[in-house]
Amino acid sequence: MIVPQIVFWVMAVIAVLGGLGVVLSRQPIRSVLSLVAVMLALSVIFLMLSAQFVFAVQVIVYAGAVMVLFLFVVALLGPTRERPTTRLRFQWGLGVLVALVFGGFVYALLQGIGFRAPDKTSLNAFGTVEQIASGLFTTYLYPFELTSILLLVAAVGAIYLSRGGRTASEVHRQEEEDQGA
């Protein structure tokens, strides 16, 4: 059967085009929407690789929630465009250099890669909610709890950053104005 290859290539083309859109778009809103396309294409590949739960989380949490957060911020801050000139002109050359070096590494790696024999686990009940849960709540219980602490810290930090009232920099500017006057 050739169907998996066809699905993979279609999704890979969508993902790479989306990635190009992320990097090359002039407007931030187009970058964000291109990233949504990349994430949806990748979620299909996740589903092909028998990761049903990760597929659902990718669509709901990532493409849904996180990207909506990005869209909110873009809409809140208004349209911003990059100016064509920059103080750091060497960035383009540096970026291309990094891309070439890393791409060469990956090419060499893929040429000489040797895959280990897979484990004996059956793929029939692979990646289901039950299997994910039993992995998360037994072997990886402590990392799981640490990620919940991380989320709590991030939530508290976000609330602190976006609270009302004067920010530290505003206070600083006010002090400077007072000194000037």
Partner: protein, 112 residues
């Protein structure tokens, strides 16, 4: 010697090298974006792109090795990415409240 790189997908197979190659292309695109773009929001978006590429390799190896650990790590990477996006966007909104920034190179006050 059998080719262990073939992942069983439904009734067919998929070469793991293709999936890893796609992840590498996406990661390089994200890295280039972080290096050459100067809009802070776009830089955060490019970081998300790199994290997604890393997730793809984790899930590809989980399927190739028939080992669930890769998928669990991918879920944790998603959690970290969400936390990173929330804090990063919070900082950006806080900066934009004081002034407009369309070039991240303008934010160089911390330079000694």
């Amino acid at each position: 010697m059998p080719d262990y790189g073939q992942i069983a997908v439904g009734s067919g197979t998929l070469d793991a090298r293709l999936v890893i190659g796609l992840a590498a292309v996406l990661f390089v695109l994200g890295a280039i974006g972080v290096l050459i773009r100067r809009n802070p929001i776009v830089i955060l978006v490019c970081i998300e792109l790199m994290l997604n590429a890393a997730n793809l390799t984790l899930i590809a190896f989980a399927a190739q090795l028939h080992n669930l650990d890769g998928q669990l790590f991918a879920l944790m990477v998603m959690t970290v990415a969400a936390a990173e996006a929330v804090v990063g966007l919070g900082i950006l909104v806080d900066i934009f409240r004081v002034r407009d920034v369309d070039d991240i190179d303008e934010l160089s006050e911390l330079r000694g």
